[in-house]
């Protein structure tokens, strides 16, 4: 599903965020991406989203080489990737429902289709009863679940999460992680960036570890399991 081949990302002439990173994630696999702050976790996820381009090496997502992807093709790649952020990026000028509906609206889906799929996604994260509320009225954990509903509403084959539990207490974090586990069970590839080592250890999954831009563990599937 995701394959990095000798990927290097340099931001400024001498500042290197990723160095010759190699790894591959299979369809339906759930993996963690850990490392100290500034290790390059977010950068790696941005390369998958084509929010950044690699300085060297190849990034392949869903069988497609992203290096020379024309700018106008980027949106169509993103429609196959769900993303969850630490600060969830919800819009406070609209309801929970409308927030979750955005990935469907950009594809021009019909209103009835949107209604059906948004409710299915909200149901999955246990927030169906709050669809008409403003995200501002929800707790941190609920907001994060709205973010997850938005990420999965169009059933993407790939789900990325950048510090999805950064602001949550351990119990809520475990809830969220279980949710990700459920998605991977139905065949979604999930990659979660986090520096919460305790949580990672508890889940006992494949773990990619970055250190100053180098992948020091989990690069080959055998090592992490």
């Amino acid at each position: 599903m995701i394959e990095f081949r000798q990927v290097t990302k340099r931001y400024d002439s001498d500042h290197t965020a990723l160095r010759q990173v190699n790894f591959a994630l299979d369809r339906g696999e759930l993996a963690f991406l850990t490392g100290h702050s500034g290790a390059g976790k977010s950068t790696l996820l941005k390369l998958v989203m084509v929010m950044e381009r690699p300085s060297a090496g190849e990034v392949v997502v869903g069988g497609q080489l992203l290096n020379r992807l024309p700018r106008r093709q980027i949106p169509y790649i993103r429609r196959h990737i769900g993303v969850v952020f630490q600060n969830h990026q919800l819009l406070f000028d609209r309801t929970v429902f409308d927030n979750v509906a955005m990935p469907l609206e950009v594809t021009g889906a019909s209103p009835s289709d949107i209604g059906r799929r948004v409710r299915a996604a909200l149901d999955k994260v246990g927030l169906l009863s709050k669809e008409k509320m403003n995200p501002m009225q929800l707790s941190g954990g609920e907001q994060q679940r709205v973010g997850i509903a938005r990420a999965v509403v169009n059933k993407p084959p790939l789900l990325l999460a950048d510090e999805p539990t950064g602001n949550l207490d351990p119990e809520l974090s475990a809830d969220i992680m279980n949710l990700f586990g459920q998605f991977s069970q139905v065949g979604v590839t999930v990659l979660i960036a986090t520096h919460d080592i305790a949580l990672v250890n508890e889940m006992n999954r494949r773990t990619l570890t970055l250190d100053h831009g180098r992948l020091v563990a989990g690069g080959s599937p055998l090592m992490g399991v």
């Binding site: 977010s42 941005k46 989203m49 929010m51 950044e52 106008r72 949106p75 169509y76 790649i77 993103r78 429609r79 993303v83 952020f85 630490q86 600060n87 990026q89 819009l91 000028d93 955005m102 990935p103 950009v106 594809t107 938005r150 950048d162 510090e163």
Partner: protein, 275 residues
């Protein structure tokens, strides 16, 4: 913004009305031919017939020298002074009215050359001078109006562009998220381009209302003024086509302004800034 749109259109209307006036007067262009002093009445009558038979001529009138002197006496008030003259200093005069088709500037000039060449004609005079001046003035005015239009159109584009820029800044988060979940550039731009076009439409309608109001307000005084000068000058209002064109142009300008704003301020909102 309505004013910015209304102003050039108003000037354009005034201009078109003025051009109507000069077109009306052009038809009044007349050629006066003064014959040589030694030309007799019979010869003058022969000339009249010759000129009248030309296809470019609508009408010729002969003012005989005695008659001319009598008229001059009355109109000048130099009655007694003229008595001292031993002979009539005025020549026979032909007042020539060209046919409609020959009333263009070139046509009249051709006519003048034709008459000037005749042996018994001393001098030919055309009442074109002030007409050319009026034409030159309207010509200059129309250039000024176009220049002003371009400036004001640019102003409209800038004003709407700025409004749309603010709208983009207010909805920055929304744009970011839309791009993040796979919204294409055109999907993200569309509402802002529509906003611009709607602003343009609003400006166009306001401009139209301003124009109609000021026309309605000015028409009374203008009619009275025109009446004083026995002119049929009147300010023409905006036709339906004209109003339609005004509003369409305003919408296009609005769309253009929005497009400039979108190009400059939206395309650089990049999801890369998140996290």
């Amino acid at each position: 913004m309505g004013v910015a749109l209304a102003l050039p259109v108003a000037l354009l209307l005034v201009l078109m009305s003025l051009e109507g006036v000069s077109a009306g007067w052009e038809s009044g262009a007349r050629v006066t031919a003064y014959l040589k002093l030694d030309v007799g009445v019979d010869e003058a009558r022969g000339l009249l017939q010759e000129i009248e038979s030309d296809s470019r001529i609508s009408e010729v009138e002969l003012v005989e020298r005695d008659q001319a002197l009598a008229e001059f006496r009355i109109s000048s008030g130099l009655d007694e002074a003229l008595d001292f003259l031993q002979e009539n200093p005025l020549p026979h005069t032909l007042l020539i009215t060209p046919e409609d088709s020959a009333r263009t500037e070139a046509g009249v000039e051709g006519l003048v050359r034709y008459i000037q060449k005749m042996d018994s004609v001393e001098r030919v005079q055309v009442d074109l001078g002030w007409l050319q001046r009026l034409n030159a003035i309207t010509e200059m005015l129309s250039r000024a109006v176009w220049a002003l239009s371009v400036l004001l159109a640019a102003a409209v584009v800038l004003v709407i562009g700025n409004t749309v820029r603010l709208a983009i800044e207010n909805r920055r988060d929304e744009i970011l998220v839309a791009k993040l979940v796979g919204g294409t550039d055109s999907f993200v731009r569309r509402p802002f381009l529509y906003t611009g076009a709607w602003f343009g439409l609003g400006g166009g309608v306001v401009a139209f209302i301003l124009l109609e109001l000021s026309l309605w307000w000015l028409n009374g005084p203008i009619e009275r003024l025109a009446g004083l000068y026995r002119s049929d000058f009147s300010l023409a209002g905006l036709s339906f086509d004209g109003a339609f064109a005004l509003i369409i142009v305003a919408m296009v300008l609005g769309w253009l302004g929005a497009w400039v704003a979108v190009k400059r301020h939206m395309d650089d909102i990049d999801p890369g800034e998140i996290a």
